[in-house]
Amino acid sequence: MELIRAEEVTRVYHFGLPDEMTALHTVSLVLGRGEVAVLKGPSGSGKTSLLSLIGCMSRPTAGKIFVEGKDVVKLPERFLTNIRRETFGFIFQQFQLIRDLTVLDNVLLPLYPSAMGWRNMRETARPILNKLGIEDKRGIRVKNLSGGEQQRVAIARALINDPAVIIADEPTAHLDMDLAQEFMTILADLHGEGKTIIIATHDPFVYEHPLVSMAIAMRGGQIDRVDKR
C-alpha cells in the first residue's frame, strides 16, 4: 500500500545565485507501507536531499510529493510541520541532541507544540525509554552519555509521536560494529510494529542487512537503480 510518492522532484539550492547547485534532478520514487528502504550512494549523490523532501523538511523546486495520498508541496509551513511531526520521526546523522538538556527533555521536545500536558508527556515517554533501556538515565544530561546511549535517546525522540515512518540519515556513521548491530536490531523491532523505515547510508553493513526490502542506488542527484528484495 502506497505511503509516499515522489513525482519528478527536483531540488536546486541557491536558485539563481552564482553558487546554484542541483542536488536532485527529476527523481521519482514510490515507497509502500511497511517498507524498509535504503538510499545508498557516495557523498553528494542526493541522499540527504531526498530524505529531506520525503520527510517534509523542505520543498522541491519542481515536482510533487504525496504523503498518504496528500499533495504536500503547496502546503503552508504550519501544515507541513504538522504532517512532519505526526508522520515522520527523524534520527539525524549527528543525533542533533541538545547537549545541556536531560535525556527526558530531549525526548519530549517534539511534544512541546502539542496540547498535551506535562504528565501525559512523561507517561508517553516512559515506555519508549524503558524499551530502549534508558529510563534510568532520564535525568542525566545528554553530554554525559556515551555514543550508543545518545543514539538511543535520538531514537526515543524520533518515536515519541508514534510516527508511521522512521527516517535515519547515516545512523551508523559514528558507531562501532556492536552498536551498529544493536541499532539494526532496534529497527527490526520497529519494523515488526508496522513502521516504515527509510535509511540513507553508505555503510554496506546496513544496505546489505536482511531487514532491507528495497535498496535505492543514487548517483549525481538521480536514482541509478532500485532493487526490491
Binding site: 540527504t48 530524505l51 529531506s52 523538511m57 523542505s58 509551513e77 504550519r78 510541520t81 504538522n82 512532519r84 511531526r85 527523524f90 539525524f92 546523522q93 549527528q94 542533533q96 541532541l97 541538545i98 545541556d100 538538556l101 527533555d105 521536545l109 517534539p110 512541546y112 507544540p113 502539542s114 496540547a115 498535551m116 500536558g117 506535562w118 525522540r157 509521536n161 540519515d169
Partner: protein, 385 residues
Amino acid sequence: MIHHLKIIEYAISSLLRRKYKSLAIVVAFAVTVAALASVLLLSNALRIEAAAVLQAAPDLIVQRTLAGRHELIPVTYAETIRDIRGVGGATPRYWGYYYDALTEANYTLMGTGGEAGLLALLEGRLPADNTECAVGAGVADLRGSADSGELILVNSRNMGVLYDVSGIFTAESSLLTNDLIVLTDTAVQDFFGFPPGLATDIALTVRNSNEVQTVAAKIKKIFPETRPITRQELIRTYDMAFNWRSGMMLTVFCAAIIAFCIMAWDKATGISAEEKQEIGVLKAVGWDTSDVLVLKFWEGMVIALTAFLLGIIIGFVHVFLFDAFILAAVIKGWSVLFPNFDLTPQLNLFHLFIMGFLTIVPYVACTVFPSWKTAITDPETAMRG
C-alpha cells in the same frame, strides 16, 4: 494555554542554559528601569508630600503687582477685604528672602503674625521680642546656632544684627521650616526696611471653600492691581513643576533606553552557532516558525519582566530607604539647604504601567526582527549538521 506554559518552561530553561548572556541583559535592563523608577517614584512622593503640606497654606493669598512684578501691599487693603462676604479673616504677612553670602544659602525670613509662645514642632518658643528668632534645623546646622544660641544677619542697611535663638524647629517639620527664620513682625519690617503701612501680602481664610474663586474675583475687581492666589493654584503649580522635572529627567533617560535597546538588538541578532543549531533541531523535530516566535517572545518577556521587577525594587529601595541620594538634587531643586524628611513609601499601578510602557515596549519591539530571523531557520540545517 498549556502550549504557552510549556513554551514558557522551555524558554526559562533556554535562558538558564545561556545564563551569562541573559544575566548581562537583565542587569543592564534593571539598571535602566531602576533609574526611571527612581525618577517617577521620587517626584510622585514629593508631589504628594507637597500637596499635603500645602493643605496648611491659606485659602487665598493676595499680592500686589506693579508692572508685572511683586510689590508690597498696603495693610489697609486687609480691612476692605475683611468686609467682603465670605471672608473669615485677612491677616497682613511680613516675610521675605535673605541671601546669606557666608553660606551661599537662601533663607526665608517670616514674621510671627502676632503668634507667640510654644508650638508643637518647635523646640523652645517663638521670639517674644525684636532681639529673638526661631530658626529651622537647616539654618541652625549651617550657622552653628544650635551651639552658639545666636544668629547674625546683615540687614538692608548693611548692618549686622544679632539675634538670640529662642527656638529651633524640629526635624519632622523640616519640609516647611528647614530654611526658615522666624522674627517678630516689627523685626522683619525693620530688617528689610519696609515702608510703614505696607506688608508682603495678605493671607485670607474663606469660610466656604467653594466660594474661593468668587472671593478672588471680587478682590480683583476692588483692587485691580492685586493678584489673588488660591491654594489650588499653588498645588497646581507644584504639580506642574514636578511633572516638568520628572518629564525632563525621563526625556533624558530616553537616551538610556535607546542605548539599551540597541544593545538588546545587537545581542538578539548575534545568535551563536549553538543557538542556531538548537533552533534548527526544534524546527526539525516538529516546531514551526510560530512556535519558535512564541518561544522568543517568552524569552524576551521573562527577561523583561525579571529586569522590570528587579529595577522597580532597586528604584523603590533607592528612593525610600536611601533617600534617593543620586537623584534628589535635581528633583528637589538646586538649593543648598535641603530638608531631610521621610517620604511616604508608595507605588501606584499607573506608574507601574508607565514604567512598563517606557521600558518593556521598546525592548519587545527591538527584539521582533531578530526573533523572526531566528525563527525562520531552515529545519534542513539539522539534517546538514
